[in-house]
């Protein structure tokens, strides 16, 4: 333990520590985190002590995963009790019960049995009038509508063992029944053999894991390598995984993957081969934005719909979420992330490991295929990317000795925990912080519809603060209208205007609250298009701009403009004005060679215009974003 601490001063050359940073992160597997370590005398020791006042820059030390927000200084622990261990365990037990109940019966036997019993039930339950129908002799129940039997008339020949022969009810006499029981027996035997094999395999793998661990330990003690920071984590991970992944491989993964450039023809071809939804050649692409995935809503939706039954490998819940992304039924970073995670939860619940495969590998591949489907529907947001990374690391960390139902229960609760801690509790903390910035008589301006900002406004209203809200909106989505409707219903006094009037309305505003899709490590706020404009005008009027963003949306990327990475929306939606058929000057624009329409979804607000970023770790200046990314990102907190 001590040796590890002392060598921590060596900084990984790849990670440049920019700006204000705390002491090096504690190893995640430390046992006791409460007292400040006497050896290192961390500079933030006083900050982490409870009971100090709310300072604008506040970075508590990384917390142990088992203790939730309770350990945060000035944490609203009394207001929001963290999920107590008892409740989690009970829910866990329930879940695993469900899983076993759902997955246990062998399908063939269950189906036959179920049919036999349900025939009788049906006969008793149905009370269809006019009993003049002839009753087939096989059904003895006194029913007017006979439950008709099925006759299999044509069967797809499958390799033996997979095919589930469905017998007709009429033919269900003693002989096939006997056959079925024998089948069930055979299945039981097979299952037992499989279990034995798996156990043997698990044992066989455990021993090399131990040796690998020993190797890693010895390597660590001999040379204090530059990847010191990583190796602690890596060793811990590889120990749990039971794998022997090399440090090199992990380091390779550290290098950010180059973003897909959609003007690179060969790579686009490659992508087309893989993707489910065949992208068609977009019309009139804007030259500067050719490298972005082009928007083809009109063609994608029907293709995806007609493929409904081809996508057998896809879980219905994932399919539904993808469809909702594509059609725009769900938008907004938090909502998309929650919808995706809940779909994954369902997919994991229905998942069963195929024979001769391990859960961690197969499930990771499965999740990857789901993710690529979702990307086909709409490019991922940063929040979703981070959530997926979390889920994958969680899957990889499942020890191989864990049974399938346990592993699934663990993942289920992990996802639940992510949603609760990273999104919902984070929002609550943000609300707590942000409300302190609202004073009586304030005029608050917000742009678009951000879930965090909405919660802040509502909470401040519930606290009885007297303030007014200006909602600035823009075409073509008019998201602010929905926010306006909800706020007015709550009784807030609101003003609604479009972004054209921003410079006029800014005179009376005292604070600007903005949401964000992501905050990048140079402090750039990546958000709904128009945010940069609002922030810039506010800066010009010397009005503080407060950006509310959960920390799980932070990303280590650096971006200087809105061009190199962005998303394109439906160009038709800016050419058409709903409710005004007379404005049709751009009809048939796609036929004109000289005209390209550009509907950007996001823009990047430079950090100069942002006064404060309110996140679940406190209120920080934009220059401190790299600290959050470094201290809390990279999955350190998820372990």
């Amino acid at each position: 333990m001590d040796s590890r601490r002392s060598s921590r001063a060596v900084i990984d050359p790849k990670v440049r520590q920019v700006g204000f940073f705390t002491s090096a992160p504690l190893p995640p597997d430390r046992t006791q985190s409460d007292p400040p370590d006497p050896i290192r005398s961390p500079p933030l020791a006083d900050a982490s002590s409870p009971g100090n006042s709310l300072s604008p820059v506040m970075i508590p030390p990384p917390r142990h995963p088992s203790d939730s927000l309770l350990r945060l200084p000035h944490s609203p622990s009394d207001a929001f009790p963290p999920p107590s261990p008892t409740t989690t365990t009970t829910s866990l037990g329930d879940f695993s019960d469900d899983v076993t109940a759902a997955s246990s019966p062998p399908p063939a036997a269950a189906r036959v049995r179920g049919r036999g019993s349900s025939v009788k039930q049906q006969g008793a339950a149905s009370s269809f009038p006019g009993g003049g129908f002839e009753v087939p002799p096989s059904v003895k129940a006194p029913s007017s509508v006979p439950a008709s039997g099925l006759t299999t008339v044509s069967v797809v020949k499958l390799p033996p063992g997979i095919s589930v022969e469905v017998q007709s009810d009429r033919a269900l006499n003693s002989k096939p029944l006997k056959e079925k029981t024998s089948k069930a027996e055979r299945r039981a035997i097979q299952e037992a053999q499989r279990a034995a094999k798996a156990a043997a395999k698990a044992e066989g793998i455990k021993t090399p894991a131990v040796t690998a661990l020993a190797n890693a330990k010895s390597a660590k003690s001999t040379k204090p390598s530059p990847q010191r920071n990583d190796s602690a984590v890596v060793v811990a991970a590889s120990e749990k995984k039971g794998g022997d992944r090399s440090v090199e491989k992990d380091r390779k993964k550290d290098v950010p993957h180059p973003r897909m450039q959609y003007d690179d023809k060969s790579r686009v071809q490659k992508l087309k081969k893989r993707s489910v939804v065949k992208p068609t050649e977009a019309r009139n692409r804007v030259e500067l934005f050719r490298h972005l995935p082009q928007y083809e809503h009109g063609t994608q939706l029907p293709v995806l719909q007609s493929k409904f039954f081809q996508l057998d490998t896809l879980h219905p819940a994932v399919y539904k979420v993808g469809l909702q992304y594509l059609s725009g039924d769900i938008c907004g970073g938090n909502a998309r992330c929650i919808a995706m995670l809940q779909a994954f939860q369902e997919a994991i619940r229905d998942y069963s490991t195929p024979p001769a495969k391990t859960l961690s590998r197969d499930l990771t591949a499965k999740i990857s295929s789901y993710v690529s489907f979702l990307i086909d529907c709409r490019p991922l947001s940063v929040s979703m990317g981070n959530a997926i990374r979390f889920l994958k690391s969680q899957i990889a960390k499942i020890p191989i000795s864990l049974s399938e139902s346990e592993a699934k229960a663990t993942l289920h609760s992990d996802i639940e925990r992510f949603i609760n801690e990273k999104i919902i509790l984070a929002d609550r903390v943000i609300v707590k912080h942000a409300v302190t910035k609202i004073r009586d008589g304030d005029v608050l301006l917000t742009y678009g519809s951000s879930s965090a900002v909405e919660m802040i406004l509502q909470h401040a209203h519930e606290l009885g603060k007297q303030f007014r809200v200006v909602i600035v909106d823009s075409r073509p989505k008019h998201e602010g209208k929905l926010l306006l409707r909800r706020l007015v219903r709550k009784g807030l006094s609101c003003t609604y205007t479009h972004i054209n009037a921003i410079s006029y309305i800014m005179h009376e505003v005292t604070r600007v609250f903005l949401g964000a899709s992501s905050v990048l490590s140079n402090g750039t706020v990546y958000s709904r298009v128009g945010t940069a404009c609002v922030a810039m005008v506010a800066y010009g009027f010397h009005i503080p701009v407060l950006v509310c963003c959960e920390a799980y949306k932070f990303h280590e990327r650096v971006q200087l403009d809105s061009i190199c990475s962005n998303e394109l929306g439906d160009p038709d939606s800016i050419s058409k004005v709903p409710g005004r058929e007379d404005i049709n000057h751009l009809d048939g624009w796609d036929k004109s060679e000289n005209l390209q329409l550009l509907n950007l979804i996001y823009d990047a607000t430079p950090s100069d215009y942002v006064s404060l970023i309110i996140t679940d770790y406190g209120m920080i200046p934009p220059t401190s974003v790299p600290v959050i990314v470094r201290e809390y990102g990279r999955g350190q907190l998820w372990i």
Partner: protein, 456 residues
């Protein structure tokens, strides 16, 4: 995808009486020399649906249909045939096989639908909205009135009962009102509550129900159990679900909208984030009630999928429709037939024999092993297998099924001649239907009649 597919193949429909019989149930009526059921099955197979339940009315018909399917689709589809008694209606048929339905949703397709609309489109719309029922709506086919020489069809198409009145919300995603043929005689009544909730309703009379529905299985079974008077999906179940969509009486145990009370506070928040992020449909707004707090009213969604005009979608439910479909499948919608058309835009089987000076025009089909004499002319017609046609025969706008013998000098216009029928010399038929095995004696002239053997 957790969908089960049920094909309602019907039995021997009364509307098609001289054409269908005990030996040829409705599902096996030939359209371009293929049973009409094959169009549905092939469309489903194209969508990668391999497991089907085919429901047939009547034991005899079931035997025929089952026999045909097992011969044609062995090794391709996994089809189970269920027999239901005759005249139970579509709802009754589903009631009878209800215990076989286990998946989350059920796709119910009529066996007489000739269409190239992918069924996945309906199911996808269903899933996207978590609907209770999704119906496919297509435009009313332009009947063959403009076509020459089918005057007998006119009075049939003029019947007002054929049309539906369909009301939708402005986004054309939800079904608000549906009135089918029988109700149209009276004034239609529209629910005020629905109209008030939506604010605006598009009422269309040029659309019709294509009889392809995606149902939530538990809801369907519940409705069928509770409302035991319901006979037909189209006239009872669907209007009922549409009517009651804002005051749902269904105990949604599958909870399609996730509106049960959330016990956990965090769940509630995530639910609210999700709900706020999407544009609420009028169902959700209505369910919220006037004060907009927790959902107080139970609703369910009835969705609609409108087949685009470029798609072909017709039901074979009348003799006129039978003629139209036959003409279209070898004519304008010839991609459905699955045949390769020759340069003359027709299909002549290589084993067919043509006499000298015999012409077969475009949009025609001549089946395997058929023989034609000299100086015949065939226009816009389908001729089945192993027919023997004499000399100087004119066949225009007609359907001639298999093993038909036609004598010299016959003239056939706008007629259907069923299998094994025999037309002796110089018979002139116009807009007639000749039943199975009927013999028309020499020199007869008929116009607009239905000729069939007396049932023994």
């Amino acid at each position: 995808m957790d969908f089960q597919v049920v094909v309602l193949a019907g039995g021997t429909s009364k509307k098609l009486v001289p054409l269908v019989s005990k030996e040829v149930p409705k599902a096996l009526l030939p359209v371009a020399n293929r049973p009409v059921l094959s169009y549905v099955l092939e469309q489903l197979e194209l969508s990668n649906i391999k497991d089907l339940i085919v429901v047939v009315e009547g034991a005899d018909a079931a035997l025929c249909v089952g026999g045909w399917i097992s011969a044609a689709y062995v090794d391709r589809l996994h089809v189970e045939v269920a027999t239901v008694p005759e005249d139970v209606g579509t709802a009754g048929a589903l009631r009878a096989i209800a215990h076989h339905l286990t998946a989350k949703d059920v796709l119910v397709v009529s066996g007489d639908l000739v269409s190239d609309v992918p069924p996945g489109a309906v199911t996808a719309a269903h899933r996207r909205h978590d609907a209770v029922v999704t119906a496919m709506i297509c435009s009313v086919p332009v009947s063959g009135l403009s076509e020459a020489g089918s005057s007998g069809a006119k009075d049939k198409t003029k019947k007002p009962g054929r049309y539906n009145i369909i009301g939708m919300d402005p986004t054309k995603q939800f079904l608000l009102h549906i009135a089918t043929g029988a109700e149209l005689e009276k004034d239609t009544r529209i629910r005020k509550s629905i109209l008030r909730a939506v604010g605006q309703m598009d009422i269309r009379a040029d659309l019709m129900d294509a009889h392809m529905y995606a149902f939530n299985r538990s809801v369907l079974q519940e409705v069928l159990d509770q409302k035991d008077k319901f006979q037909s999906l189209k006239q009872d179940v669907l209007p009922y679900l549409v009517r009651s969509q804002l005051k749902s009486e269904i105990l949604i145990n599958g909870a399609p909208q996730g509106q049960q009370a959330k016990e956990n506070g965090n769940d509630k928040v995530s639910y609210r984030i999700l709900a706020n992020a999407s544009t609420p449909s009028f169902h959700e707004l209505y369910a919220l009630g006037p004060n907009g707090s927790a959902p107080v009213r139970r609703t369910h969604k009835c969705c609609v999928y409108i087949a685009s005009n470029s798609k072909y979608c017709v039901r074979l439910n009348s003799i006129q429709a039978f003629m139209d479909i036959n003409r279209d499948v070898i004519g304008e919608a010839n991609h459905l037939s699955g045949y390769n058309f020759s340069a003359q835009n027709n299909i002549i089987h290589p084993s067919a024999e043509l006499g000298s000076k015999t012409t077969v025009g475009p949009h025609c089909m001549l089946g395997e092993g058929s023989q034609m004499g000299d100086k015949c002319s065939v226009k816009r017609s389908v001729i089945g297998r192993h027919c023997r046609i004499g000399s100087n025969v004119k066949v225009v706008n007609s359907v001639v099924m298999n093993h038909v013998t036609i004598g010299d000098g016959c003239s056939i216009q706008g007629s259907v001649i069923c299998s094994n029928a025999q037309l002796q010399e110089r018979v002139a038929l116009k807009d007639c239907q000749v039943g199975l095995g009927y013999v028309v004696s020499a020199g007869c002239e008929y116009k607009g009649e239905s000729l069939a053997r007396k049932e023994k």
